[in-house]
Symmetry: D2
Subunit: 344 residues, 4 copies
């Protein structure tokens, strides 16, 4: 039994208001497949949040599902998607995008972000007919390494997409943590303006389950419901997700939870910094990557759950610590105390 | 605003005990991807229910997803699945199985059930090398037409599978209604004994969402989690479904709800019978199919939601009425009164 | 060792002029992947034949390949193709179209041809969101049962496509036999005018191997070469097929061979008719389907190869006899004599 | 009009003996789909060549097709294939393997060959459940960079496969050039012993078209014909390829042609070396990669066709020159003279 889990941001079921909101649905009856009044309200509040009154907004169960449904839809039968080599679709989805028939063209990245020069080189090379045809760029905001793109960086990728006639898809499993980061200049209206499609993650930020998958342009949205159903992602009780997103977005709960997660991560990283530990990546959101000695890891890993990301050198490893909207500050402090004690 | 919806069995969110069970999880932390204690308990109670202590049991979000994940896993790259032409995978899933690369070989059925003679003819013809290779038989219990297979019928199909070296997959989206039907001689231990794989539907019988997908033989289960993830069906918060299935199966709530749905359908069908209406199919579970005049349909369809299944003759249509574990008997009675009144 | 094979129209390698044409290429060097001068000439003569100066014309190795490449290209990720239940893609291609992720919606046909009423009913039903989305109609000219569509029939299907926003794809594996049939009023310019895409079969009409796959509209052709390569159908030595098609079409060899095949089939069917046999289908092209007693079949099947299509009644079977551009009339006559002798 | 093409090894149609062999088939009739006597003879001679009397041997039209059919068959629905980042399937096949639903896991390679350390690291990392499941290793012999594996190198990869329970697939599009290389210690019996599946390239070594795709283990071969058909790769006139492979292998023509190609490449590389040019890769087979100045390239590229592989530095590029079984030594010498002249 762990004192606390810092291994991910989906270890707690949901914010209490989410359970209450579901409870309020009672035994009322709703139309199936997201064609109910509650989903309509949730769609409206999301459209308002992203400043896209005509966007297609759909509710699905999870992030890998959102990615495979969304990318499988955006790509033509010959199309490939470009992603950072650290990108979720390239690593952690067990080949989900390829299982829909499409190659992921991975470009090297040192910090989880796509670099303009790498993108440029990839597109230049792919003008050869033998090579697969890139059609979509995938990026995660925040990234899998806890960093965030600044607004100007995504604008530059948008211009790149325009130049090469590519679509831009953003994995927003942790868009909340990105937008509420202390160093962020990127907002929900920006994602609505710059991306062609994206999803807003519920699972990792307060929801019981569910993601809101958005096709910004209504033209891209036409027929998309069939694709969602075909991939097994159209929920019979869509209103069960709609109600959660309505609750999360109607008054800012979503961003409050993300801010709390970031604050806890900051408390953790500052504490670690004070204790003299260094970090693999900048600490910008709710995922931080300190370097710990293997000896220290061995001493604390029975009390705390966390992910050993990869070997750093013979004696040290990169560790991932993740906070959530439900992380108590006491647990952060307790961890820091226990760590300091174990490291003596 | 309808007086009542008889259009499906997923119009109400969940049984109150389900919401309570979720609420009890509070802000405790659990391991991700169904590798937590709650899922273990839920798996244990399901294994006990089907009398298969070694079966692989997995929680996914919905029925089409369960089918495409399960069948996509059971079929080799050249394999096809045989289904009744009325089968869910052949009609209502927008080509989901085909999107995983496999043909659905549809055989004609008059009552939603697979008929031994049709199966035999199909297999005889498919010995030709040009034709696709059937590897799995798919059936739904109860069927899409509200009927149920008797135990001996499934035993015969099992023998057929053994003879032709086919696997048997059962769509149990409504397995509760099948097992608690007045005319049923088929139980949960029978599905565990006769099928190679199946799913137990939660969405249509009391759960907020979720299905339990079972690989009966541990050999078939090896590696299956990768397939679930690859199709976007491995839920980060698997415990959110595990908790529901534990609640549904720990003391028979699941079967109680199904029985109620069946009782309400019986009340409805007997009432319709008394009023002089006839039926397209036998009324065996919670879906019934009366024949109503188009005129009558026009008069009641603003007050009651139901599905017009198909044209019967120039003046009549087949209508589908579905009850659920939450259907109030008063609504059934009110509907019968309103119908009688409208039909004068 | 058979006296003769009537089992298909690809039992002889190629017309001698084809081998000569290949021989003339000698050890000259050509650009790869159909970007050579010979392919250009072949494309030009085919464009001229179909009266479509801007059509995309591509050379692939075989018919199933042409179908899966062509249909996989025309269909969006959610699309399905409609075919007669007797259609080649629905029966004889081992699930090739489904393996590209698309459902074949089969409509019943008594003579191998699509019937307007069945098409209409299918499209009406498929307006329901749960059902797969038809996007293309597939037909074979001549059909798998040896019949041909009259021009007006294909015009009606074209109008149907226009009405429902469908594309029309024609499998022309035996387009030569269709066009040179005694009862035909359909020509190569008609296929160029009425279809969106089609292939002209070489394998079954004089070529060593190869089919010409045509995207009539240049818009549909954009990017198609990538799809051909992706399916493994872009031949390194495209000129090996181009040279054959140039030879076949430059002076009408293609149609001469088809006419010969039809003439031989007519000779055969008239002979059989004289002997008193009846037919399952009208004899319109180079495939004929007499009804023979099982006893008679048993007596002749060691001397002649042919396909037993299906059981007709307890004592009779439908037999398929196929002639080709290389069938000697003596073999037809010999078969008729042997048959008459065996049937006494 | 080029003086000569050094851009690939499929610019000449076929060796004259191949055309003669096809001509000898005349108008005899053969069974379809490779079930004829000629294919049987060709299969027998290939089995003899690889010392595998029970291997499954199949004839398909091209190399990308062989790869996608073979790998699509060997991989389970969750499986991925490991290849060098320079591997044909990872670069030049327009996403063909991914279009069958499988990820290509690319490992870095400096010389086109798989390196044991990279393989080891990849497998270690892929033990995480989130990552795709590697099931097959793909390598090309000779490689895409003109190098060859020594026997001991492939033996080590075989052991690696055994250790990790992987299958080994070899792309032998240029197996002839590999085996007849001056530096080779690897023979046809070795490929039969060490690989689980492979193909022997005809297109790039004397055939008009066609590859022989081999499943070494009869267990792996069971059902494989259905997969070949399903991918559109089962040729109606299989005997057209069978006859070519019989001709190529019955008396060593295949190896004679490969040896000639290698000899011409050696003459070319030695000539370039004498002229003072250096090379990007060792010259081991019929593909060589000299470094030429961009200025020089500009001067000769109207007279000679070749592939500019990639930029080397500001002023130089890597060029690929390919010879074939039909390359005249005079053309090699003429090129060297012209090059020397242009470079002054």
């Amino acid at each position: 039994m762990y004192k606390h889990r810092f291994e991910n941001d989906y270890a707690e079921l949901a914010h209490p208001r989410i359970i209450e909101a579901l409870g309020r649905l009672g035994t009322h009856q709703y139309a199936g497949y997201s064609q109910d009044r509650i989903c309509q309200e949730a769609v409206a509040v999301i459209r308002e949040t992203i400043k896209r009154p005509n966007a297609g907004v759909h509710f699905v169960a999870g992030g890998t599902q959102a990615n495979l449904v969304g990318l499988g839809w955006l790509l033509s039968s010959i199309g490939a998607v470009i992603a950072a080599d650290t990108g979720h679709i390239n690593v952690y989805e067990a080949g989900a995008v390829e299982a829909t028939g499409h190659k992921v063209c991975a470009v090297p990245s040192s910090d989880g972000k796509l670099e303009p020069q790498s993108l440029h080189e990839l597109m230049e090379v792919h003008q050869q007919e033998e090579l697969v045809t890139p059609e979509v760029i995938f990026l995660s905001q925040s990234t899998e390494l806890g960093n965030i793109y600044r607004k100007s960086e995504i604008e530059r990728i948008r211009e790149f997409c325009n130049h090469w006639n590519l679509l831009l898809y953003i994995d927003g499993a942790r868009i909340g943590s990105a937008i509420t980061s202390d160093v962020s200049d990127f907002g929900m209206a920006d994602i609505g303006e710059l991306a062609d499609a994206f999803f807003i993650g519920g699972t990792k930020n307060g929801a019981l389950f569910g993601e809101a998958l958005v096709m910004v342009n209504p033209e891209l949205d036409r027929g998309f419901r069939s694709a969602i159903r075909q991939r097994g992602a159209l929920l019979a009780k869509g209103y069960a997700v709609g109600a959660q997103f309505h609750e999360l977005f109607k008054d800012g709960l979503y961003f409050g939870l993300a801010e709390h997660a970031n604050t806890m991560a900051r408390r953790l990283s500052e504490g670690l910094d004070t204790l003299g530990y260094t970090f693999w990546q900048d600490c910008e959101t709710n995922q931080i990557f300190p370097l710990l000695s293997n000896q220290l890891i061995a001493r604390i890993q029975n009390d705390y759950a966390f992910h050993i990301w990869e070997k750093y050198d013979e004696d040290h490893s990169i560790v991932r610590l993740v906070t959530s909207g439900a992380t108590p500050s006491e647990k952060v402090d307790e961890f820091l105390v226990d760590l300091a004690e174990a490291d003596t």
